[in-house]
Symmetry: C2
Subunit: 484 residues, 2 copies
């Protein structure tokens, strides 16, 4: 069956990717009285019902067309969240939890007749303990704000998704977000020690602990991290901080005449035990998009760039070793940053990548992850798929993790990706899975990748997922239709 | 109510800690035909029923008196485990999975009428990929054997519980075992990427992945790790390997006149960002037990010893810094190992600790973990509890993690710890919890700590635990009565 088409070859758009939920059907109609009850419980400033306003809370960073929310609640406390969930259980209203809406998989896309539970006002850092190297934070804290607060004490919050200046900790937890530094420091789950969660019926569950280690009971913290709001609403998290490096990181950028050479350099850097704190790859299509925008003087022969950083005490020596390894693997030029400002300029190239691509058209951002040894072949496969389907694919990769972000660019005038983009994306997913990889390294399944979920998670996994979902959310009101 | 006594003050031994399961009651009686069916399915060499033999598979390293197993199965393959679980579901026979039986919480203690499912024959390292830095191993692989296999490729398997020369990966996964190196490299969960699990009804579930990152679906890998055999039987694990350090670690041992000084030195080492790969504390009672056995020339004024190691490339410089920090915090003497052999002698002191204590009597080994800042107070509290109850408590600690192992020594002639030991242990648990700590940092709840579980995990957690248990094991046949 052609991707994007049903068994008869018809466009499946409206079924699979059109407006999520059907306004005309209206399975959830709690009515005016119920909303009045909610407003009475919370106070009028926290409940928004004007469609012009609520619609702005209905989307994330995908093209997915949301259903219309019944209301948006701007929660300010755990008690507010409890009140919403008790009310939602009473009236059987679906609830879509929301952080900053920076997700790339439709996890926060509103469903028809839902309440969007926005947590962006819960911005308290309830505690920051330098001695225990932990912080207790509310879900609306901006990721970079927590990092900055930690740095005042010589500490850092390690996870740094590309959106970290605008994303929230709650959203990061919901998707188990990764980032650039996670090649050394791990993903969000590796920094989450414990959670306060409001369950579907309003009960408060406390998971995990304040200690570095602990094995009392099942790992419920891990279960909630990455569950995309389908099991409960996180209202507080105890997160692990780490010692911030004492010296500025040492940074290099290497240009290659082929993506395979760049991938070989990645393998060499890992195998040499360099432990980079950042190891990013940009393909020519991405570099060209940046060059067209900011004129970085891109040479015609450059097919790929690696940006690598070491924040170890002997960073400059490690950077020098990485430079040698890049040259041994065919790099035509390697820039070594002379200081923090030059380093920031090199890293800046990577941070420009997504915006540079958005200038070219609408973007479907994918997120496959393969075992590191499969990186060169996976990159070749993506290049071949782009040619075969005549689709522009710009790829950046958290190369040290084998995590690729092929971005499929399409005509901004279209309401959704055209069939050739879906066909190309479908092949990318299958190539990744065939190489022992996964559909999503750090963005989540959301709404966008549910169509492919069964390719990775077999029927037993699906049964187990549904069983766990029923334990936490027997009425199915928490972010229905997402993630699993 | 006095611990170890019921509401009327009666000895609660037989109810709470006596023979687990009552032979006379016999809730599970599948009979001779069923055993014949099991033997036919597996082959006679794999099913043991002679009580003299099966009893040797019924205990772990605790004093807990097991129930009598109906049979012991020596599984050799995933297919064997599937056959056992299908049979057990048909006949509703409880199954107690078992690795090497080195557990310290009774997680592998047989229950009356069960089948002990021993996995120690499943010793294949199915794959070891240096390029991807992963191994796929069966549960019966000895932890240190995997580490040795990895080191042939310049890699290491980081988790190293004290029992790592005799414990199995399967047991480590079941308890989410820690170890000495986990102060730097994390616990077993941090090295587990994916699992093959046989569910209670014999279905095979595959969790996780081969990639470093991945967020497709719920974190089922994390859910099984530390679940103590109550949710499924792990038949294979994809584990993460790490680059082995290129140079031998640098090691110091520091003597202190007080435990609080030693604890202050621990805090200073962590705060200075030394990132030790090992940071162990031994109290005087432990040192004395070692000295009585091996004559290490223990000075009368020495109340505590810290052993610290750095495996960083600049290890000797870090060790020197740690030496300074120990001296600044009152160390009376610091030995710096001149080479690997001297280092091994210092680490050897730590490895002797448990055996030295076992020479003194029977041991109740506890495992509380507190936030690092609470370590000095927690140590003082344990000292006071020992005096108050006139109980010998020897404490070693994975100090960098705040994970303490107070060992309560009692008369070997007694069938179980006497009331004053339970009373002292009860106070230690409560003191740890009052300081934001946990009952168990790395040993698990098993059977031993279930009595205190409700103090840490409230009623909502308990309901969630039971709900999850029902999803995986609706008949309650998997390691009943353990962990939750």
């Amino acid at each position: 069956m052609t991707p994007g088409r049903d068994a008869r070859g018809r466009r499946a758009r409206n079924r699979a990717y059109g407006r999520y939920g059907d306004r005309s059907r209206g399975p959830y109609s709690p009515g005016v009285t119920a909303i009045a009850e909610l407003t009475a419980a919370l106070g009028s400033g926290k409940v928004l019902t004007d469609p012009d306003v609520t619609d702005s809370y209905a989307r994330d960073r995908t093209f997915l067309e949301p259903g219309g929310p019944l209301a948006v609640v701007l929660a300010e406390s755990t008690a507010d969240v409890v009140a919403v969930m008790e009310w939602a259980t009473r009236h059987r209203v679906p609830v879509v939890p929301r952080g900053a809406g920076t997700g790339l998989a439709g996890g926060a896309t509103a469903v028809q007749g839902c309440v969007v539970l926005a947590l962006q006002r819960m911005t308290a850092i309830r505690e920051l303990s330098p001695a225990d190297e932990i912080a207790v934070v509310e879900p609306g804290v901006i990721t970079a704000d927590l990092d900055r607060a930690a740095r005042e004490h010589g500490l850092m919050y390690a996870p740094d998704p590309s959106s970290y200046e605008i994303s929230t900790i709650g959203g990061n937890l919901a998707t188990n977000a990764g980032g650039l530094r996670c090649v050394k420091y791990g993903v969000t789950r590796d920094s989450a020690l414990g959670l306060e969660v409001v369950l579907a019926d309003g009960r408060i569950l406390t998971t995990g602990r304040r200690t570095v280690k602990g094995v009392t009971g099942y790992d419920l913290t891990g279960l909630f991290v990455g569950s995309e709001g389908t099991l409960g609403v996180i209202t507080s998290a105890t997160v692990r901080l780490r010692r911030a490096p004492l010296v500025p990181p040492a940074t290099i950028a290497a240009e290659f005449g082929s993506l395979r050479d760049a991938a070989a350099a990645v393998a060499a850097v890992i195998a040499a035990g360099c432990q980079p704190s950042l190891l990013e790859m940009l393909d020519r299509a991405t570099l060209k998009a940046i060059d067209d925008w900011r004129n970085i003087g891109l040479e015609p022969a450059v097919q790929a760039m690696l940006i690598a950083q070491s924040d170890a005490p002997d960073g400059p020596a490690v950077a020098e070793r990485m430079r040698e390894l890049c040259e041994e693997n065919g790099a035509s030029f390697v820039a070594v940053a002379a200081g923090p400002q030059e380093a920031e300029e090199l890293i800046g190239l990577r941070r420009l990548a997504y915006h540079a691509k958005e200038r070219l058209g609408a973007c479907l951002v994918e997120d496959v992850c393969v075992p590191r040894s499969a990186l060169p072949d996976m990159i070749s496969a993506i290049e071949a798929i782009a040619v075969r389907h005549d689709v522009l694919i710009c790829t950046v990769a958290h190369a040290g993790d084998g995590n690729l972000h092929p971005v499929f660019v399409f005509d901004r005038g279209l309401p959704e990706p055209p069939p050739e983009v879906w066909a190309a994306a479908d092949e990318v997913f299958r190539e990744a899975l065939n190489r022992g990889g996964t559909l999503t390294g750090e963005h989540g399944v959301g709404l966008l990748k549910r169509r492919w979920l069964a390719l990775e998670a077999g029927p037993v996994t699906e049964e187990v997922h549904l069983g766990i979902k029923r334990v936490f959310d027997p009425l199915g009101i928490l972010n229905p239709g997402k993630a699993i």
